[in-house]
Every structure is written in structure tokens, then in C-alpha cells.
């Protein structure tokens, strides 16, 4: 039995040897065909897939690199740009904090220029201890913007001035050209001198009760390294031009408590704020 198995095994070996001796090219062809298949499926196809991924990565990386290069060039050039050269004007026109002192100083300046007399100033500035103080309608500050409801907030101030009609007209014109950006939202004009009934008389004294609102920026801005440097639109360039005509006053920033000797901007008014 064992002999028969041995003979069978020898026969199989002999058959294989015979096949190899007679059809060796076919055997090698099969071997190379197998190698080719292994090469295709285990190396070439994965590599082509990897190349495709790398190529799209390269395009993406090169695109980002180009954007960053443009951004660096823009930042280098921006030192002389319109927006940087007018940065002070823009920041004074729309400050990032409640511009109470700035507004009062500007009012005083245009009041003196227009030769009107301040009779009353009253405001409820809300919490002024911090720049991000919470405000509400009762405090007469509110946030509003059609584009973004938290972009800016307004601060209302009631002012009563007296003077000749021309002076008041000049004051009304000038008040809308001060920094911080201020606009008249309500106004009542009354003639103070009863003797003269001609409203155009140079001697007639008028009292103007104004409600003015000024604005300040209250939006959080996040700078993203991949974001493009914003470019100015035509209307924004026009705004920069308009800001050149504004009246700017510098208020020294105070970092310590100082006692006495400060100028009273509105000597006619007794502690009305």
C-alpha cells in the first residue's frame, strides 16, 4: 500500500518535471502573468489613486499658497493704502467704544464755531464702566443695523441750544459733520424773543431742542489667516472722502485719576448730565 503511494508520488513529480521540461515557457509565462497582475492590483492601481489624490492636494496647496502670497503682498502694500492712511478718521467717526467724551467735546467745538449757547444737555449713556457695557432701550442706547443687528449701537443725547436763526442753522449743519458720526433725529425750534414777529429777523433768538444720536462700533471681528484682505468699494471710498470734511477733536485718553483743573466744556449748564 505504501509502495503504491510512493509510486504515485513519484509519478506526480515526474509529470511536473515533464511539464516543466516540455512547456517551460508556458510555465514562466504564467509566473510573469501572475507577477503582472500582482503589480497592477497591488502597486500600480493604488499608486495611480495616490497620484490623483496628491495632484488634487498639490493644486489645493498651490492655490492656498498663491492666496497667501497675494495677502502678504497686499499687507506689505497696505501701509500706504487709502484705508490705513485714513484709519484715524474712520476710528474717530465710528469709535469702538461709547464716544461720550468725544461727542461732548465735538459739540462744544461746533457750538463755539456756530456761536450758539447750550442751555441743557441730558443723556442716559447706560453703563459706561466698560466698553462692552450692556445697554437697553431704557438707557437709550440700542444696537441696530440692517446688515447685522449687533454691528453698531447708538447713543442718544438731548441738547437745547439758543441763538440767532443763522447760528442755529449753522449748528444744525455742523453737528452732522462731527466725529463721532452724529445725526439729528428730532428737533423742535421755538422763537424765544416775543417782541419780534418776523422769523427772519437777525435779532430774533430761537431755542432749538434737539435729540441727536451718535454711533459706535460693537461687533466682534475675527481675523482669519485664509481670508482675503477686504477691498474698498466705490461707496466706501466716497465715505472716506466725506470723512475728510468732518470736524475731529482729540480727547486725551486718561489712564489715571486726576484731580481738579479740568475745563468745563459747558459752563452755562449746571450738572445736567
Amino acid at each position: 500500500m505504501a509502495e503504491a503511494a510512493k509510486i504515485k508520488s513519484l509519478n506526480q513529480q515526474n509529470n511536473l518535471k515533464y511539464i516543466y521540461n516540455t512547456r517551460r515557457y508556458l510555465v514562466w509565462s504564467g509566473f510573469f502573468a501572475l507577477l503582472s497582475l500582482i503589480l497592477i492590483f497591488l502597486s500600480i492601481i493604488p499608486q495611480i489613486s495616490s497620484i490623483s489624490g496628491l495632484y488634487s492636494d498639490l493644486i489645493k496647496e498651490n492655490k492656498r499658497l498663491a492666496q497667501l502670497k497675494i495677502k502678504v503682498a497686499q499687507l506689505i502694500d497696505s501701509n500706504d493704502s487709502l484705508i490705513i492712511t485714513n484709519l484715524d478718521n474712520i476710528n474717530q467717526a465710528l469709535p469702538s467704544k461709547k464716544p461720550l467724551l468725544e461727542l461732548l467735546t465735538s459739540l462744544n467745538t461746533v457750538g463755539n464755531q456756530s456761536r450758539v449757547r447750550f442751555n441743557d444737555i441730558s443723556l442716559s449713556p447706560g453703563k459706561i464702566s466698560t466698553e462692552s457695557a450692556e445697554t437697553n432701550q431704557n438707557g437709550r442706547t440700542r444696537s441696530k443695523s440692517t446688515a447685522n443687528p449687533t454691528s453698531y449701537e447708538s447713543l442718544f443725547l438731548d441738547v437745547t441750544v439758543t441763538g440767532p436763526l443763522n447760528s442755529i442753522n449753522q449748528f444744525l449743519t455742523e453737528i452732522e459733520k462731527i466725529a463721532p458720526f452724529t445725526t439729528i433725529t428730532a428737533m423742535t425750534l421755538n422763537e424765544k424773543s416775543v417782541d419780534n414777529t418776523n422769523i427772519n429777523s437777525q435779532d430774533a433768538v430761537f431755542e432749538a431742542k434737539l435729540t441727536i444720536s451718535t454711533y459706535f462700533f460693537s461687533k466682534s471681528v475675527i481675523v482669519n489667516i485664509d481670508a482675503k484682505i477686504p477691498e474698498l468699494s466705490v461707496s466706501q471710498r466716497e465715505i472716506i472722502d466725506d470723512l475728510q470734511e468732518f470736524t475731529y477733536t482729540s480727547v486725551e485718553e486718561q489712564f489715571e485719576i486726576r484731580g481738579g483743573g479740568l475745563e468745563n466744556l459747558f459752563p452755562n449748564i449746571e450738572s445736567s448730565i
Binding site: T22, R23, Y25, L26, S29, F32, A33, S36, L39, I40, I44, Q47, I48, I51, L54, D57, L58, N62, L65, L68, K69, K71, V72, L75, S78, N79, S81, I84, L87, N91, A93, L94, S145, A147, Y152, E176, F181, T183, I184, T185, A186, M187, T188, L189, N190, T197, I199, N200, S213, Y215, F217, K219, V221, V223, I225, I229, P230, Q236, I239, L243
Partner: protein, 187 residues
């Protein structure tokens, strides 16, 4: 002379024919394998090249990022200033509406009419004016001017109300108008 009998002659002939065919197949398979090997090395080369290029681009990006970060304060200033300009543009537009209306009415009313009260609701874009004149005839003229179709063209419907005589013998009249975008005089 003994005659040779070769019993495997046919078999050898057949084998030689098969072997030739096998060799042809072998040549094709080895050729294909050679081409595939070349493709493998080419793709390997492209793979290395692309990896190198991606790494180079990433290195350059890091350098650019470093330069951008060094200029971050300037970028912040520009971004904030641009946002502020957007808001200022919106505020200027709102105010322009009001100023344009007041200028327009001051001009058409003439010097005999005093704009006594102004009330502007920026949210609703509604402007209310109260006019005063010493003469009823002047206000009558104002009334006619306000009824003129050109005023309607400029400001839509202008509401006129409260024509009253005040205690100083003058006359007051109130007008209200809505400053919608399409009705305003062009800048």
C-alpha cells in the same frame, strides 16, 4: 540495413510546435510585464515628485503664514476699518435721505416758512416736519406746492395735516413723508 522506427517523432513535432507557441506567449507576457514594471517605476517617480511638491508648497505656506501673522495688527485694523466703513455707508445713506428731504423742502418753501419741528424715525424712515409761517397765504402756497405732482414723484405720498393758527398769530402745518429708497432724489 536496419530501419529506425521513432515512436515519439510525432510527439516531438507537436511539442516543438507547442514550445514555439509558448515562447511567443512568453515573449508577450514578459514584454507586458516589462511595460508594467516601467509604468510602476514611472508612477513611483511621479508619486515621489508630487509628494515633494506638496511638501514644498506646504513649507512655503508656513513661511507665508509667518509673514501674515507678523502683519496681523495691520490686517485687524483693515478688517475692522472696512466693517466700520460698511456701517458708516449705511448711516450716511440713512442720513442722506433725511438731509435730502429737508434740503428739498427748505428750498421749495422759501424763506417765509420756518421748519419748526423735525422728527426722523430712522428705523421706519419716516420724516415729519412742522412748518410755521406768519401768513396764511404763504402756507396756502406751500399747500399748493406740496400738492404738485413733482413732489409726489420725489417723495411719494406726502401727508399734510394740522393746519392751525398759533397764539402769536402765525400758522402751523405738519407734513409727514416716508423716505423709501425709490422715492428719494438721486445723490
Amino acid at each position: 540495413m536496419a530501419k529506425d522506427i521513432n515512436f515519439v517523432q510525432n510527439r516531438r513535432k507537436k511539442l516543438t510546435k507547442d514550445q514555439k507557441k509558448d515562447f511567443q506567449i512568453f515573449k508577450i507576457v514578459v514584454g507586458t510585464f516589462g511595460v508594467l514594471l516601467a509604468v510602476f517605476f514611472i508612477t513611483l517617480g511621479i508619486d515621489f515628485y508630487l509628494k515633494f511638491q506638496v511638501k514644498k508648497a506646504q513649507d512655503q505656506q508656513r513661511e507665508m503664514e509667518r509673514q501674515v501673522l507678523a502683519q496681523e495688527p495691520i490686517e485687524q485694523s483693515i478688517v475692522i476699518a472696512t466693517e466700520k466703513l460698511k456701517i458708516l455707508s449705511e448711516l450716511f445713506d440713512q442720513r442722506y435721505d433725511k438731509q435730502a428731504a429737508i434740503d428739498y423742502f427748505s428750498n421749495i418753501f422759501g424763506p417765509q416758512v420756518l421748519i419748526k419741528d423735525i422728527n426722523y424715525e430712522a428705523d421706519e424712515r419716516i420724516l415729519s416736519l412742522r412748518l410755521q409761517s406768519q401768513s396764511i397765504f404763504v402756507l396756502e402756497e406751500v399747500f399748493l406746492k406740496l400738492s404738485d405732482p413733482t413732489v409726489d414723484e420725489q417723495f411719494g405720498n406726502v401727508n399734510k395735516s394740522e393746519l392751525i393758527r398759533n397764539d402769536r398769530g402765525g400758522y402751523n402745518m405738519a407734513i409727514t413723508l416716508s423716505l423709501s429708497e425709490e422715492d428719494l432724489p438721486k445723490k
